[in-house]
């Protein structure tokens, strides 16, 4: 698009900013890599030594690692699926002209502004608690045994809470995308005899491909590090049922200020995040944009 001259000029002007940004990114990363090769704990800061890849070995051979990895992927995948599968119809609904739309919108968006710890506490104690929770009360009203959420389906319970928090985000992004959809295209499809469903499949969905990718990417970044919800509700238990990589890093290293091990765990998490994001985006890209 741009001419060669403007390109050269543009690059020259951008260089300082990019360099700064690069340094800003690379220094912490380099330090993390450096720390990950040390036996170094804040609580034992005198005794630090170079241990090579020992921290990685220790973290990766942790008996909880595979379970935590699996839980992480299940958590991320399920929350993504729920938020997108529910977020899309919700966005479609909010895009309609209905009375009280702005209030409904506000209500839909609200959960996003609740602190994770708070929403986890509310869900755990007020909604899901098998004795004093609202769900249990409803269950006893209709005469069934209340579900013991965090005991019987702990990971699913955490997924529900996290999905509830992220649903507004997905809905909002998708709604914005819907509103940018060309009205005349939809009318053209209407003239072409497309039903509402066909219009959705052939026009709206492809139009949403990019925002969905954005939702997936952004959510993945945050969902890989879900911690507060787990810490508050289950403390990673029962057993390892709700331990994800972030929580494992916490028990393995953070809680005891083990800088070396935490850095190694953090780097492993970064690698996992990249792999996950790479695959997700490819899958989505292929299915929707084709």
């Amino acid at each position: 698009m741009a001419t060669q001259q403007t390109q050269v000029l543009g690059r020259a002007l951008l260089t300082p900013a990019v360099a700064l940004l690069f340094i800003w990114m690379i220094v912490p990363l380099a330090m993390t890599i450096y720390f990950s090769t040390l036996h170094y704990s804040l609580l034992d800061s005198e005794a630090w030594s170079f241990v090579g890849l020992e921290n990685f070995r220790y973290f990766l051979t942790d008996p909880a690692f595979l379970t935590a990895l699996r839980n992480t992927l299940v958590l991320v995948g399920s929350v993504l699926a729920i938020t997108i599968l529910l977020g899309t119809p919700l966005a479609l609904l909010l895009d309609q002209q209905v009375v009280g739309r702005s209030i409904i919108r506000l209500m839909v968006i609200a959960p996003f502004f609740v602190m994770p710890t708070v929403s986890a506490l509310v869900w755990k104690n007020l909604l899901m608690h098998p004795v004093s929770g609202l769900f249990a009360w409803v269950a006893t009203l209709v005469g069934t045994t209340p579900i013991d959420w965090f005991n019987d389906v702990p990971l699913f319970s955490v997924i529900l809470i996290v999905a509830w928090q992220w649903l507004p985000f997905a809905t909002l992004i998708l709604l914005t995308a819907l509103q940018s959809q060309d009205e005349e295209q939809k009318e053209a499809a209407e003239m072409d005899g497309a039903s509402a469903l066909s219009t959705f499949i052939y026009l709206t969905l492809p139009h949403l491909a990019r925002p969905i990718t954005v939702v997936i990417l952004i959510e993945t970044i945050f969902l890989l590090t879900v911690f507060a919800e787990i810490f508050v509700t289950t403390g990673g238990g029962p057993g390892l049922a709700t331990t994800n990589i972030a929580f494992l890093i916490y028990t393995q290293a953070l809680v005891q200020y083990d800088v070396g091990n935490a850095s190694a765990g953090g780097l492993v998490a970064v690698v996992i995040a990249n792999i996950v994001a790479f695959f997700l985006v490819r899958i989505v890209g292929r299915n929707l944009e084709a």
């Binding site: 060309d182 005349e184 295209q185 009318e187 053209a188 499809a189 209407e190 003239m191 072409d192 005899g193 497309a194 039903s195 066909s198 052939y202 026009l203 492809p206 139009h207 491909a209 944009e289």
Partner: protein
Amino acid sequence: MGQITLQGVRKSFGPVNIIKDANLDIENGSFVVFVGPSGCGKTTLLRLIAGLEDVTGGQILIDGRNVVGVPPAKRGLSMVFQSYALYPHMSVRGNIAFGLKMAGLPRSDIDRKVEAAAATLNLTPYLDRKPRELSGGQRQRVAIGRAIVREPKAFLFDEPLSNLDAALRVQMRMEVAKLQKQLATTAIYVTHDQVEAMTMADKIVVLNAGNIEQYGSPLELYERPANLFVAGFIGSPKMNFVPGEVAGEPSVATLGVRPEHLKIGKEGEGWPGTVSVAEHLGSDTFLYVDAGKLGLLTARCIGEFNFKAGDRIWLSPDPARLHRFDKDGVVIRT
């Protein structure tokens, strides 16, 4: 078949009446153009016919059947939008085929028809491209292809050429007109460009503020405008209007004469005035003349005339081509 009749069609958005009592009879196979100034309701009227808007009152008949309440797809019309409204994620082939696919035609039929339409419109080499990889004119042709492939009863065009440059517009104008004649399908074409209207139309509908001012062939409108509005709207440069009293016809409120019907007379003959601007186009000369009480007159003279600003001249109107209007602006026929 494609005969479209409007009977007392009205449309209002909330308290605002946009279309007020439109009555129209469009014959099968004819090319009808809606013209009028911006905001007069052309698009609205077209969309009412298409079924994209619901009428507030009146009837729309297609081939004698009242289609009020019938969904757009069931009216058997196709529309070409001003923005083309191509499906951005589909190839040209997909775009053209979409309507047929929705109608549930078998694959082989669809392919055949799409190829035929593409051939007609010189789109064959581009069939597998996405809309964003096409030029403006090509996109326009895809939009037309999408419309013709369904073999509708009528085409509805909403300013389809307004996004094209002047040269391309002239070319596409001819192509569209040719195609319409070739297919012999009724076409309704919205534009605010009166040259487009005059050159393409079998019949023109002049709209103003939601009213149909006149419906007739281009020449009819040119030669016998029904009122001041049509007289002023059709023809370029605009018709000159002079107050009847000043021009010596006190019984007439306004006297109209087209620039091409003003001749340069000998000294003392006709209306005197001073040339304020002279535009030399080679084939014609446009003179903008300050005629005192008569106001500013425009004269169009065939050939080259060596006038310049400040020259004093006399203009004499062709008496057979004078248009007379009463105080309501309605033409006075004698």
